[in-house]
Structure formats: structure tokens, C-alpha cells
Subunit: 245 residues, 2 copies
């Protein structure tokens, strides 16, 4: 288990933490996609999982940069936080952080779509208008873009960050997660079932399955419901193991 | 000015506060309209103005019920808070509170539209699908419904609450506010320009113009930028004056 990683590290060099010298970039929280100056499309991500990861990454000795959507959380001690609103802003911040990252963890619940047109003034209701159509445009898949860039760098023999993605699903969790791991060229994915009452979005606890490439197959590790900071540590230790290989 | 109301009351009966014995119901915050279990449509209302009104109403001696959308604020002391998410939930809570209210203040930024269909499972992205259409249905106008009911009660000689609405606009503020005051049969409206940087949504300060029916015309009072609790007190004192007439 990943617990071994901690003990081996702490035995090998008591003064050195497992993530010492590593730069970890994380995205967290939801994004907000403006319809007009007051209305937006968003989702129920509280940012707690990403913030727990940031805090634990600092505890493990990493230098941590947190690219955060709008959340009601305070910045963990020692974390460099970059605030963004929309998916396009988050993507720009993520791409800018790429070269300076050893591990990149995409934990944000990025809005899949944004309104195609953003009104400058608040949209007025028209008398008698009982329905309204909003046309949405697909947002870029930030983590897939980062992972694709990482793949290109590696193919060219250049150093590139290890990429960890998240999959929040309400059904067929393992199926969609395996598909995303491969299709998006991620090194590892954290899959969780957000339909479980009391877990996931907004909660302080979470359960997850970690999936990663191991030789020619996909290995996995199930983590039972536990506080988000404990899950964060398991995720980071697994990512560190993969990074060290 | 409305300041006279306080002094006349405190002179008349030092033990009695201006809103003693009155039941004030308020709505506050945004509503969230679900697209699926994780996504929603909402707006930038922080709830601060409504919560300031609730706190000041308690300070003025009223019995206060606060129907609140999702906000990151704690309940002011002495306030009965009812949490809701969607416009339909807020409407049900508001209608249930109607008969038990002397003054009803609709401060919530109710979403005008909600997704017509709510998916049970998280909507999956389809490969190649670059655009998406969301059909929205108009939400009921909660404060207009409450005001119309109040108007009917009064016409029938029955007691009914005084109705105060809000108009958050980004342009032509006075024009839209006068129109809403009359068309929605409100007794008073609080109009503010949310396009002013540093004021309105999310801010601790606000400026507003109060408009109300006085004989055959519409009277108004401009309140310069001030902390939301100070604006809340001006609004409540004006509403109390109208209620006592």
C-alpha cells in the first residue's frame, strides 16, 4: 500500500519529507461561466478536496501552487493561491504553471460548457416570454490539454509533470474513470461517486478509487470513505510513487 | 426624513421599539436552479443585503423570518431562518409565510429562469458535441405573486402585509424600478445599480433609491453609498412609516 512509501521515506532520510523539492500545481473548486453581469452557470464543487490536497502537499514538503475557482475556503498555510473565475481563466493559469510543475493535479470541477454569448448588460425579461434558449459552447478540457502537452514533452525527451485527473460521476464510476484515464492520457485518475449521500461535493468526507497505468494494464486502489485530508494524503503518496518511478 | 420615525417612537414609549409587535418576512440570497445533480444556474447575490435587513429588523423590535437561498453567511441572532435552494422552493416558503406577515420584503435575487428538464444523472459530454442548447422556463415572480395576493386581500377588506421589492439593474435603474413598482403592485421598491464597482452584489456597501406610492404619484428618496446595515435601517424605517399610515 502507499503507506509503505511514507515509512520508507521517513526511515531513509528523517530530515527529508516525501515531496521535498517538488513543485505541485493543483486546480480546485468550481468555475463560473457568465451569462451576463449577474447570472452564471456553475456546479456544487466546494473546493474542499482540492484545498485538502494543497494542505497535505505542503505537509509532505512540496512547493504548492493552487489555482482556485470561487470557493468559501481560506488558503492553507504555505500555499500560493491564484484565483480565477471561468474555465478559460483557469486554463490560462494552468498552462502558465505547466513548465514549473513536477506534479499537476486537476481537482477542479471545471464547467463543461459556457454560454456562447455573454451579455454586457443584465438580460431583461420580455413580457410573455415563458421560455428561453441558452446556447452553450464546450469549454476546453483543461486537464486533457495539460496531459497531452506532458505526453508531447516526454515523447521529445523533455521533462514534464506527472498528471493526475479527477472523475466525479453519478453512475458507472469505474467504467468512465478507466475511459478518461486512457483517452485523456492521464498518469492517474481519482474516481469518485458523487451520488453517495454524505460524500463528495460539499462534504468533508470522500471515498475514491485510484486508477493508474502499470505496465500494460490499469492498476487500481479503492479507498473507503474517510476525511478528505486522509484521502488527499493517499492520493499524493500514490502520485509520488508514480513520480519516483 | 425617516429618522423622525425612530425619535417619535422612542419619545412616545421608551420601552417600545419602532417595529415592536410586527412580523417581518424577508427573502434573501440567490436561488440555484438545477440542470442535473451537479450543475446549476445561479447569480452573484451574496445575501448580505437581506441578512443586514434581517439583523436590523430584529434590532428595531420585529419578529423576523428569513427565507434564504444558499449563502455563506451565518444567521443573525434572533432570526428564524428557512433555507431553500430553488425559486419554486422559495415561492412555497414565501406563500406559507404570507398570512403571518405584517411586512414582506423580497430581497432575494431569484433566478428568472430554471432549466425546463432536470436530468437525474450528471449529463455526459458527447464526443464531438461542441455546442449544447439548454431550454429554460420562466420562474414565477415571487414578489409580484405575493403583492398581487396582498392587493386582493386589501380589496376584500382583509389585512395584508406591506410589500417591499428590490430592483437590481445595470442601466436605466430609475426607469425599470418605477415600472416594477407599479406593474408588480408593490408598496415600495428599493432600486440599486449593481454595475457600480465596489457596490451591490458581494459588497458590504450599497447605494439605493427608495420609491413608493404617495397619493397619486411616486415619491422617492436617494440614499448615498453606505454600509449595507445602514441602508437596511433606512429601508426598514421607510417601510415602517408606510405601514403605520
Amino acid at each position: 500500500t502507499s503507506g509503505t512509501v511514507v515509512s520508507s521515506h521517513s526511515t531513509a532520510a528523517s530530515s527529508e519529507l516525501p515531496a521535498s523539492g517538488l513543485r505541485i500545481t493543483l486546480t480546485a473548486g468550481p468555475t463560473r461561466e457568465a451569462l451576463d453581469p449577474v447570472r452564471y452557470l456553475s456546479n456544487h464543487s466546494s473546493g474542499k478536496m482540492g484545498y485538502a490536497l494543497a494542505a497535505e502537499a505542503v505537509a509532505l514538503g512540496a512547493s504548492v501552487r493552487l489555482i482556485s475557482g470561487p470557493v468559501a475556503l481560506s488558503t492553507p498555510a504555505g500555499v500560493e493561491r491564484i484565483d480565477v473565475e471561468s474555465a478559460l481563466e483557469m486554463q490560462a493559469a494552468a498552462e502558465a504553471a505547466f513548465e514549473d510543475s513536477d506534479i499537476f493535479i486537476g481537482c477542479a470541477a471545471v464547467a463543461d460548457f459556457r454560454p456562447t454569448e455573454v451579455a454586457t448588460h443584465k438580460l431583461k425579461k420580455q413580457a410573455g416570454e415563458e421560455q428561453m434558449q441558452v446556447v452553450l459552447t464546450r469549454n476546453p478540457d483543461i486537464i486533457a490539454g495539460i496531459a497531452s502537452r506532458s505526453h508531447k514533452y516526454r515523447t521529445a525527451g523533455q521533462p514534464a509533470p506527472l498528471i493526475v485527473g479527477f472523475a466525479a460521476e453519478t453512475r458507472d464510476v469505474a467504467h468512465y474513470a478507466r475511459d478518461k484515464l486512457t483517452r485523456k492520457r492521464l498518469d492517474m485518475i481519482v474516481a469518485n461517486d458523487v451520488s453517495t449521500p454524505g460524500l463528495g461535493f460539499g462534504s468533508d468526507s470522500n471515498a475514491a478509487t485510484l486508477l493508474w497505468h502499470e505496465r500494460d494494464s490499469i492498476a487500481q486502489q479503492a479507498i473507503d470513505a474517510c476525511p478528505k485530508f486522509a484521502l488527499a494524503r493517499e492520493i499524493l503518496l500514490r502520485a509520488l510513487t508514480l513520480h519516483h518511478h
